[in-house]
Symmetry: C2
Subunit: 231 residues, 2 copies
Amino acid sequence: MTEIERMKQRVAIAAAVRVRSGMLVGLGTGSTAAHLVRELGRRLASGELQRVRGVPTSVATATLAREVGIPLVELPADGVDVTIDGMDEVDDRLDCIKGLGGALTREKIVAAASREFVLIGDHGKRVGTLGERTPVPVEVLAFGAERTAARLRGLGAEPRLRLVDGAPKTTDNGHLIVDCHLPPGTPAEAVRAFAAAVDGVPGIVSHGLFLGLTHRVFLAGPDGIEELVAG
Amino acid sequence: MTEIERMKQRVAIAAAVRVRSGMLVGLGTGSTAAHLVRELGRRLASGELQRVRGVPTSVATATLAREVGIPLVELPADGVDVTIDGMDEVDDRLDCIKGLGGALTREKIVAAASREFVLIGDHGKRVGTLGERTPVPVEVLAFGAERTAARLRGLGAEPRLRLVDGAPKTTDNGHLIVDCHLPPGTPAEAVRAFAAAVDGVPGIVSHGLFLGLTHRVFLAGPDGIEELVAG
């Protein structure tokens, strides 16, 4: 296991304390969240945790959760107790960008339905302003996608259709991903205004700016685990 | 043909004057829009119109347009010249509710991409306040649909999953429709606030409130056609 993988595993194990017996848990998607899913499976198998059930945020996570023995249910009307998921960037407000893994819409539905939403990642994900390193992924309907991309450009972003092996990436929901690169130096208020404007564009299913949703962040660094709690 | 069908045909024929040779035309969905599609096909066949191409807003409209000989293209980045579509309710601002036919998302993408957006219908569709007779259709992802319905209830609506022959209605995009009944007497400002709030709920693809998009309305009544133009 590489040092970065060890960090991901350490932070997932640290965050697993937020899950207690009997809880309904939103299960994130991506390499860091996968460590959390495996850790929950291990704790269920050992008896450290009991009666935990999961709501997966992707087909891939559902497959992994079944492999490690976590019972799965559909997202109920009253939401979940806690969701633990990775992120691509996180700022001092604990707002984040998610979706480089492509599961942003289901992740956002479950995050917004969580009594506690917890982010996990390595300390390199921390940024001064969201969008400074990574693009904002936007899930768009294939119908009218060129027009939708033009509208994203009109909002100040440089949109690029995400490709996998030369073909457009398709999400679990059957849509496309447009990665929106914001101009260098875009201030935080402009990023928030971009998020609000994108919400109103028809043809857009969701975007990777998760604002005001996070309760707690665990960050792994060379000196251990840092825990941040929303004010 | 019933009297109501004759009114729909008359208003479609009246609105067809907005289409001129060489135009790219957004083709609406539903029984009134179908009369417009047939009329455009007739004008193309007779030579009254030339070089008109269409962007269909549903699979059903695409099928009809092919039958009547309208060449079809995908929605381009710079939009369409004019779109003509039906509506379920229209108010004095020319704002409307659409989507009882289930094609609201593609209709809204094309409407918002139109240099002129034209509504057609019978005079019975005119209301004082949107939502007073018909529910607001909302297209939602099947993933988390119960939670999404609970959030719509939290915004003050009474959500009902749309069924067809006892099974959930599925849209051309593969999603569900939740019809949101607003409380009697909901004022116009509250309807607009509802629309803005719905835009920000994850799991919602689009909703049937079309605000600030309409340029012109043709209404058929017993005394002829009334034409309203946005101020």
